[in-house]
Structures are given as structure tokens and as C-alpha cells.
Symmetry: C2
Subunit: 169 residues, 2 copies
């Protein structure tokens, strides 16, 4: 969910030497080429999944894999069909990050994006994400990391978990 800390952790995991693919970056590459005039990224994401299948962004992500890759960390799964795409090509472990809405909204407001100023707007954006089916992925996760305050502790637990899982999925 927005503001949970997944990009912070994903960056730290990358710095630790893991190959990390950020699905929103993969989507943005396609958005740059194919978006309709004035189309928001979120609307483009919905359209792609509607027109090309709910697993489409995962399929684009597969193109970034190398046959030599042993462990790849993928940031930003949005629905269960994407999980199934990854399961077709290898052992797939789902790690979800949980922060309460209150914590997430405070972070997003602190980040100071103009569009992120009001709790109601942030909740609205949450429900937009949920419409994609991300709640199902969260409910079916193999591991959950909480991120309520201590960022360093969160990153440490996150890296430990990824290292453990990459040894023994």
C-alpha cells in the first residue's frame, strides 16, 4: 500500500546486492510509449490489465529476467494473477509490508506531495489500489513485515527475511 515503506526496503535490498525489479518502473516504460493523451498512470495501469489481462505487468516483468538469475526480488505486485505468472516460472514467495493507514498517511503527508494532503484523498487512493486486487495478495502472503516506526529495524528485518528466503524459499 502507498506509504508502507516498500520502496525504501526495496532500495536497501538492491544496495545489499540483490537483483530488484520494480514493477511500477516496468509499467512506466510502457506508459511512456503507449499512454493516451492526459491518461494518469493509475488509469493506464487499469486499462492495460483490462485490455491485456490482469497478469500483463508481470508478463512484462518476466522480460527483465535473465536465465542466470537465481534470486530476483520483485517490488510491486498488485493482484493474484500476477503472482500466478511468477509461479509459472519459479518458486515464488510473497512478502507483504504492513503499516497502519494512520502511519502511512502521516508519511505521505510528510513526503509533501501536493496531491497527498488530505486523509480522505489518501483513503480514496488506497481504495483505488485495492480495486486492483492487492488485498488478496496481502491476505495470501507468506510473510508480513510490519513498519510502524523504527526504519532501521524495519530494513534490518526486511533484509534478514529476504536473505533467509533466498537461501530456503
Amino acid at each position: 500500500m502507498p506509504g508502507s515503506g516498500k520502496d525504501t526496503l526495496s532500495q536497501a535490498i538492491k544496495e545489499r546486492g540483490f537483483k530488484v525489479i520494480v514493477m511500477s518502473e516496468v509499467l512506466k516504460e510502457r506508459y511512456a510509449k503507449e499512454a493516451l493523451p492526459g491518461e494518469r498512470l493509475m488509469d493506464f495501469a487499469f486499462r492495460m490489465r483490462r485490455e491485456r489481462g490482469r497478469g500483463f505487468v508481470a508478463e512484462l516483468t518476466l522480460e527483465k529476467l535473465d536465465p542466470k538469475d537465481k534470486v530476483v526480488v520483485i517490488n510491486g505486485v498488485r493482484n493474484w494473477e500476477e503472482v500466478e505468472v511468477f509461479r509459472r516460472v519459479g518458486e515464488t514467495v510473497i512478502i507483504t509490508i504492513h503499516s497502519s493507514p494512520k502511519t502511512r498517511y502521516e508519511r505521505l503527508i510528510k513526503r509533501g506531495r501536493a496531491e497527498d494532503k488530505k486523509y480522505e484523498d489518501l483513503a480514496k487512493r488506497d481504495f483505488e489500489e485495492l480495486q486492483m486486487g492487492i488485498g488478496n495478495v496481502i491476505a495470501m502472503a507468506d510473510y508480513v513485515l510490519t513498519n510502524e516506526g523504527d526504519v532501521e529495524g524495519f530494513i534490518r528485518r526486511g533484509i534478514e527475511l529476504v536473505e533467509k528466503v533466498s537461501r530456503d524459499p
Copy 2:
């Protein structure tokens, strides 16, 4: 989700002296009176929510509240509209319990219900629960408790959390 340990914790919370309402019990009372011949409880639950509104079981649950109640623990919210029903009448804090599918399926198989024998069937039942919208509630939870092994530790953390939240929601 089935096998996460919510009923175990809910029972322990009740023994600790909290008022606990189990929404599936509230639903079963109605099921006993109004189910169609041969209708499964799950199908009845879907039909009630379709015919009487997605917040219907929460509205039935409100009838169990007493104006004198200060803190009530409600076990078994299934969708976001139910949360909104509870929010209309009081401060509402969502606690979700996370166990991995693997852990939950092992528990359900150990419980030895005849219908719970195969991983595929258990996953199918999970997706039936998810269709109700429970993933959204899990994603938007205020707190998450993990329950992967040590039951006593889980119950202790659960009771501590409920006591903390009931003092300071």
C-alpha cells in the same frame, strides 16, 4: 482467513473478561431461521450480503451491543462495508491476524475436518473468503498480529494488544 487462529485468540480474549461477539455465530442464528433447503452457510452469507446489503451481518451484530458497553471485541469482519457499519456507532480499530497459507493449511489439516484435506481445496476456500472482500480489510488494518508457531506467545501478544487498544484506541 481460515486457520489463522482468530477463534483461539477470540476465546482467550473472552476468558480475559472482554465482551466478544463472533459474527459467524450471529450469522448462524439467522441461518438457522432463514436458510434455503440444502444451502451452505457460505452461500447463505453471500446471499444475505447480496440481498440485504454488504454490511448486513454487521448490522445484525449491532443488535448484540448494549448502550453500557465500553469495549467490544468483534470477531469475523469480512468486508469493508461492515467496518463502516461499526464506525458509525463507535471508535473502530481493526486487528488482523496473519499466518502464511502453508501454516494455515497445515493447521486445518491437523484439525482433521473431512472437507479440509487437500491444499487445492483449502486454497479454493480461501479465494471464496477473499471474494467477500476480506483482503481489503486486512490491507487496511490498524494492527497485524502474526501467528506462525508459538501459540502462547501469539495469545499473549493478542491480549496485550487488545488491552492497549481498549485503553487508547
